[in-house]
């Protein structure tokens, strides 16, 4: 018996709702003489048809079709919705496992209400002659957050909608998602993140991991956004400059150890990598990208993609053929493998111990300082302002005495340098192989688009968001055997969501 209820709730009900919602208004329309009245009632027939279809299927739709009422019968919508909720409740309470109920909402009912809300709300607002610019988003978010509980008041009251509504409903949806998920996750022994007293330490630890790796990601991405904002091209060499920076640091330390017998701290590898990658980047731009800005190249976008991709391939093959495929790594910044932190109050432990890996923490700090320094550079120095001016309007900048071509070279050199610095900063943490950039490049592009192409704060925030999503997904997803395997997906999810709501990215603009 139970199975039939589930089949109705998941399959037959939604199909009848769709039929009712889409076709009932059309079925009623041909009756001459009723056209104007039916038109006025179009949206109410849509909602009534959908709700009736979901609750009673062909019975409701057949009744509406044969009776062809001029107005929706009184109480029709409320009765249908109550029947629908009753049906869902019967199924939910009879489910063998509460996890199934939560999954049903997360995967089926929530999204279905969201689609329904997105479909019906703008039509209702248009029908009433109200501003419907926010109606689609609010209908979708409201449908997902609380289904009919939000959609019904929206329908009847049709309140004035604003961006604040969107924000609140987005928060409510987020909270709904977390609450539902945490309820679901409680059924798993290996999930430590949600609603467990005493798991504050674990959650804090994962948050620290996420922010830590997020700052490192941001460091990788920031050079890419700089190049795009000034040059207007996406550099496909970025990954290889990152790799080259790491190898520069490695070679410096190797030379120090093998030729002079001294152990050099990897911190000194960073300026060396910065200089080398800046020079290579600037020379590359001067020789191979500048002609593009001088009008000597046709189809400049294709040219930019091919030339940067080709140069990246060359760099990678060069390092592979000279250095070999074995992974390399350098020693530690600090002679501390890890340290722990315990927060106490009146000798009672509140949180802890929280583990910090020495080098990771140090690298994250380097990343944060560099990004802050970069923001200072762009806002407080003449050269930084000149770069910003070129990113805003090349011609106007030229009129003001700034040479855009030199700024292009400087921007590419700086972008390459930032990639190189991040490589040099990370080689004490991750093993480096000549193709390492390929692995990270995809993530850097995601971060840049998520934060908004051309925005340095966007790269910072985007990096931290992706880091947090990956870490919390890997650390908190229930049924952890696959949680870490899908690590890259979590960042993509938030990326897709942000692009849906704000296609220009979080801080999207085309200048610094």
């Amino acid at each position: 018996m139970m199975d039939w209820w589930i089949v109705w709730l998941l399959l037959a009900g939604p199909i009848w709702a769709l039929i009712g919602g889409v076709y009932i208004p059309r079925l009623l329309e041909p009756e001459e003489g009723h056209a104007s009245e039916l038109h006025e009632g179009d949206a109410s027939y849509r909602l009534g048809g959908a709700a009736g279809g979901f609750a009673l299927g062909p019975l409701a739709i057949g009744y509406l079709y044969w009776r062809r009422p001029v107005r929706m019968p009184r109480g029709w919508l409320t009765t249908s919705m109550l029947l629908g909720v009753l049906l869902a409740s019967i199924v939910a309470f009879n489910l063998p496992d509460i996890r199934l109920a939560v999954l049903l909402w997360l995967l089926l009912a929530g999204p279905a209400w969201a689609i329904f809300g997105a479909y019906i709300t703008p039509r209702r607002y248009r029908q009433l002659g109200l501003d419907d610019t926010q109606a689609l988003m609010i209908g979708a978010l409201g449908g997902f957050a609380a289904g009919p509980l939000v959609l019904a008041p929206l329908w009847y009251e049709a309140p004035k909608l604003s961006a604040r509504w969107s924000s609140w409903l987005a928060l409510l949806s987020g909270w709904q998602l977390i609450a539902l998920y945490s309820f679901y996750a409680r059924s798993f022994d290996d999930t430590f993140c949600f609603l467990y007293p005493g798991n504050v330490t674990y959650v804090s630890q994962q948050l620290i991991n996420g922010i830590n790796i997020g700052l490192i990601y941001a460091l990788m991405a920031v050079g890419l956004t700089l190049i795009y904002s000034v040059q207007g091209v996406v550099s496909f060499t970025h990954a290889q400059f990152y790799m080259l920076g790491g190898y520069c640091s490695y070679w410096l330390l190797e030379i120090g150890a093998n030729s002079f017998g001294i152990t050099i701290n990897p911190l000194f590898g960073i300026p060396v990598a910065a200089v080398v990658t800046f020079i290579i980047g600037a020379v590359f731009e001067r020789l191979l990208l500048r002609p593009m800005h001088l009008g000597k190249v046709e189809r400049i976008h294709e040219y930019a993609i091919l030339i940067t991709f080709g140069f990246g391939f060359f760099l990678e093959s060069l390092v592979l053929s000279t250095q070999g495929p074995l992974p390399v790594k350098v020693g530690r910044y600090l002679d501390v493998r890890r340290f722990e932190l315990v927060l106490t109050a009146d000798r009672d432990r509140i949180i802890g111990p929280l583990r910090f890996l020495g080098d990771r923490t140090f690298t994250a700090l380097i990343g944060l300082l560099l990004i802050l320094a970069l923001m200072y550079f762009f806002r407080r120095t003449w050269t930084g302002r000149a770069l910003r001016a070129v990113s805003m309007d090349k011609q106007a900048a030229a009129v003001a005495g700034i040479n855009p071509l030199n700024m292009n070279t400087l921007a590419f050199g700086l972008g390459a340098m930032l990639a190189g610095i991040s490589g040099a900063a990370l080689i004490p943490i991750f093993n480096f192989v000549p193709w390492i950039g390929q692995i990270n490049a995809g993530r850097a592009y995601i971060i840049v688009v998520l934060g908004g192409l051309g925005s340095i704060p966007g790269a910072l925030i985007g990096g931290v968001i992706v880091g947090l999503m990956e870490t919390m997904g890997s650390g908190c997803l229930a049924g952890g055997d696959r949680a870490a395997a899908y690590k890259d997906v979590y960042g993509l999810l938030i990326f897709a969501l942000v692009l849906l709501i704000k296609p220009t990215g979080l801080f999207g603009r085309e200048r610094l």
Binding site: L287, F314, T471, G475, D481
Partner: protein
Amino acid sequence: MIKKGMLLLLLLALSLPGLSFVGAQDDCNFAEETLKIGTLMPLSAPGAVLSGEQMRWIILEAVEDINEACGVTVDGQNWAVEAIIGDSEGLPERSQAVAERMIFEDGVVAMAGVFHSAVGLATMGVMQANAIPTVFSEPWNDNVTANGIQPYGNAGARVESNEEGIDYIFRISPASSMTSKASVDWLLYLGVDDVVIVAENTDYGVPAADKDKELLIAGGLDEDNVDIFHIELGQEDFLPLIDRILARPTPPDAIKTQITGETALNFTNQMTEAGLAPNEDTICITNQNAYQADAYWSTVPDGNYCAFFRVGIVPALLTPVAQALNDDHYAEFGADIASFALATYDAVWLVTDAITRANSLDGATIALEIERSDVELSQGRYHFPYTTQTKSPLEDGLPAWMWHQWPDPAVTMMQFFRTGQRGPEAAVIWPPAYWTHDTAYIEYGTDPEAE
């Protein structure tokens, strides 16, 4: 300026990756054409590029050695062997396309080598359909050989795919079940009762971890005390997963990695750095890459006392050929040679030996000669006891993967006990017949060679 720059880049790019290689002797009177043998290896991410590069090197060594011995003789004519090297990227769909290109455009007569189980599983159907005799030297997935006599996925048994009942696929690397059994036997001998397995999410890692779990449970462990976590090949940051394992109420007795390539080194490094293992409570079992010690110690500086499994004969018993290859490999890469590289070297020899004996370039004739192989190469004596000319392993009560499988690849467990040790210096701790320090495990913080 631009054209010059583009041309320079193009020339440099084209000159770097060698796509085929022939090393030939002048006095062998070779035929004008070469005899092409194909091979697939990961030379780009996300595959295990480190292993792919080593495989490429050993293939070229094998071809050079074979051609120095006047190549392959068919109908009294010497043929120089040419290796057609394809980059699989470790991706099944890509490897299928490359394999088809090798067969239809390059005209390979046989395949040898191949890295990654996913690539082996994806391409074996292509080889079978086109009658290309293939000797796999690395894919471990049981189904690579089992599919010879029993269905796998949508594919029926290979022996039923043609009228002659010929199976063109052979394997000289161990099956996954063989390596699992060795390491699980060792763990059970040590008396562990709580194991965490971290495996790559591939056609190698998933079944290998499942097999480990099955054997551990069969050995008496509670099902709840064997946890499997999957990771993605090429992943870099494992800290969230490591913290998840650290948050368990009690530390596991052992952490076993079923990960290939540099990803394994990254995971092991982060595991040791976070203090998860090795320590007094938890045994660390890392990938056989550890045998290539220079890379291991430079990337896993805290990896002392980690155990690792090694496929292939124990270092003390290396044959002269294997020892010479190891020396060359060390000179080239600064690392001792991995067993899959030796197996790949042998796979090329095995194929060319079969072609010479077959005195034909016909795929079916060559495959039947590979079945009859009985030849001593760098890793030992190669023979295939279960073939179309003998019997099915099922008749002897053995699993289906023993079909077209070399039965004797050695699997040992080894363990470092001093930072900076070379692979061959590590202690052999399993099986007991090969013990070098009279123990199955060197306790954390001890040195069995200390006075």
